[in-house]
């Protein structure tokens, strides 16, 4: 499979809803699509990364209104275990049509849950819309704290927005300060589990989106599945997005492809290197598990 996965169309897009773009990370694609799907009854709730008990710590939540979706808009660059609620959403919340957003590995988990519902009873056909967000790597909360407070010299609670782009990690504070650090200094903070991830643009989502490839405030969108296609067409017909053809925006799809290739090549090397990570007492190589080969 191509590093960008299967897709039916790639578009540069931005929400026409200013309430959403004020709060969203990029073009407001995810929040707009979920709000539309709620309105149309395509989903009756969505699992999103809501606000947690500490500043910038996400807490998975089930959103059933646009207000709740807005409260969860924007990116928190640390782990939000959204799949944690997947069975709960169909039980305590009683949803029959569940939406879920996730980074690529989380969308992989969604598809595994559907094809191999081992412990997730009655969930497979209730997943109505899986939206993916691009992801190079993720951080633990403590790692994000170190980056923001030690490297960028800002207090977590004073930060208004965090963003990654053009090789930099940037924090914007409530009082207008902007602090940056080079992205390459972040690598030591990345959660180790990300080093074996072979997906950058959420290849298995119904629709996936990220900022890379499109101008500031816009998003690059891949419409991937039949279901994704139907939802995207519906949202377009309802006038929810302004769009530009991907080949007319800068930096364009080439950059997405370049970053995806870099991530996958590097991580495939990591997967291979795990085979011989240590030595047994007799001098033979002692490997780590390869999750793509067998349990």
């Amino acid at each position: 499979m191509d590093v960008l996965g299967n897709y039916k169309s790639a578009i540069s897009a931005r929400s026409t809803d200013r309430d959403i773009t004020k709060k969203s990370q990029d073009g407001g694609i995810i929040t707009t699509l979920f709000a539309y799907a709620l309105e149309e009854g395509i989903i009756d709730g969505a699992i999103v990364a809501g606000p947690g008990d500490e500043p910038w710590k996400p807490e998975p939540m089930v959103a059933t209104t646009k207000a709740e979706l807005l409260a969860a808009a924007g990116t928190r660059y640390n782990i939000s275990p959204n799949l944690y609620l997947i069975k709960e959403a169909t039980r305590s919340y009683g949803l029959d049509r569940v939406g879920i957003v996730g980074v690529p590995c989380q969308i992989q988990a969604v598809r595994k849950a559907q094809l191999y519902p081992i412990g997730l009873r009655d969930v497979d056909d209730k997943i109505a819309l899986a939206l993916g967000i691009y992801c190079m790597e993720n951080l633990s909360y403590q790692a994000l704290e170190a980056i923001v407070e030690d490297h960028c010299n800002q207090k977590m609670e004073s930060v208004k927005k965090m963003d990654i782009g053009k090789g930099k990690f940037t924090v914007y504070t409530e009082r207008g300060a902007v602090s940056q650090m080079p992205l390459k200094l972040i690598h030591k903070y990345v959660q180790p589990g990300c080093n074996v991830c072979l997906d950058y643009v959420a290849n298995l989502a119904d629709i996936s989106s990220g900022s890379v490839g499109s101008p500031d405030g816009w998003s690059t969108v891949f419409v991937r599945s039949m279901k994704g296609n139907a939802v995207w067409d519906g949202a377009m017909a309802a006038g929810l997005f302004e769009t530009k053809p991907m080949d007319q925006v800068k930096p364009g799809l080439d950059l997405v492809k370049k970053l995806a290739t870099e991530k996958i090549t590097k991580n495939q090397k990591n997967v291979d290197a795990r085979k011989t990570v240590g030595l047994k007492a007799d001098g033979t190589p002692k490997g780590l598990r390869n999750p793509y080969e067998s349990p």
């Binding site: 799949l83 944690y84 069975k87 988990a109 009655d122 180790p192 298995l204 599945s225």
Partner: protein, 253 residues
């Protein structure tokens, strides 16, 4: 439609939850029985006393080594079936019966409960307590394609069933600790939360994005580990999720 396959359920020391799970497919079960599989052996559902020849045998429950009949029937089922499945957590991993100490009404001597792979070779595992109706349905459809399908269908079924067969090779112990040993300690966990969402007894909580297992609460059902996308992930199958789901849905219509 090609000739049906034959499926049986051998009931050992289980709670009948696995058998009920089969029925939890509702009209799906009728569809399976109408078009794909004859149920040739099953407690209360089929009036057959002795273990017959069958294509697929689902074994429910662990095997009490002190119960001669169980041991014999399990061995007989192994001999008479092409594919033997540890159906549910008790058969695969012992599950809650690992904690049994015997002494129960009318069979006080039954106290040595072991996963069935300690007695016979097992081909395939369907973990979890109870297992999921949709998982056993998928295995039944795939077993049909494997045994009766054309070459393309055989390949798909083999690819689909392989990880469940590898789980059977992996061993007969699994609990929340496996997440620690084989995922977290191996630097593979990325904090998706699937394990916590999966656990039937809510023994797992997510702390700062990573699972924490309450080991006293864990019943050793193996669901969390088998469901974790970092315990195994077969790209060839998952990348075709849309086609495969449509195929299964189509088969059940």
């Amino acid at each position: 439609m090609a000739e049906k396959i034959s499926i049986g359920e051998l009931h050992l020391s289980g709670c009948t939850g696995c058998l009920v799970t089969l029925a939890d497919n509702y009209e799906g079960l009728f569809k399976l029985l109408d078009d794909y599989a004859d149920l040739v052996y099953a407690l209360t559902l089929v009036d057959v006393r002795h273990v017959p020849e069958m294509d697929v045998c689902l074994v429910e429950g662990s095997c009490c080594l002190n119960d001669k009949i169980s041991v014999e029937e399990l061995k007989e089922a192994r001999e008479k079936s092409k594919v033997l499945v540890a159906y549910g957590a008790c058969a695969a991993y012992g599950n809650i019966t690992r904690f049994c100490r015997g002494g129960q009404w009318n069979q006080p001597g039954h106290e040595a409960f072991v996963p069935i792979s300690e007695v016979v070779d097992v081909d395939l595992y369907i973990p979890s307590c109870p297992p999921c109706p949709q998982q056993v349905r998928n295995v039944a459809v795939m077993a049909y394609l494997l045994l009766r399908g054309n070459d393309e269908q055989k390949n798909l079924a083999t690819a689909y069933l392989t990880p469940l067969m590898q789980l059977a090779q992996r061993g007969n112990e699994a609990c929340g600790c496996d997440l620690m040993y084989d995922v977290i300690n191996q630097g593979l966990c990325m904090g998706c939360g699937t394990c916590a969402g999966t656990c039937p007894v809510r023994a797992i909580t997510m702390e700062y994005g990573k699972p924490n297992v309450n080991r006293d609460q864990c019943i050793k059902c193996g669901a969390c580990y088998a469901q974790c996308p970092r315990s195994w992930f077969n790209f060839d199958v998952m990348n075709n999720y849309e086609g495969i789901m449509d195929a299964i849905k189509g088969a059940m219509q």
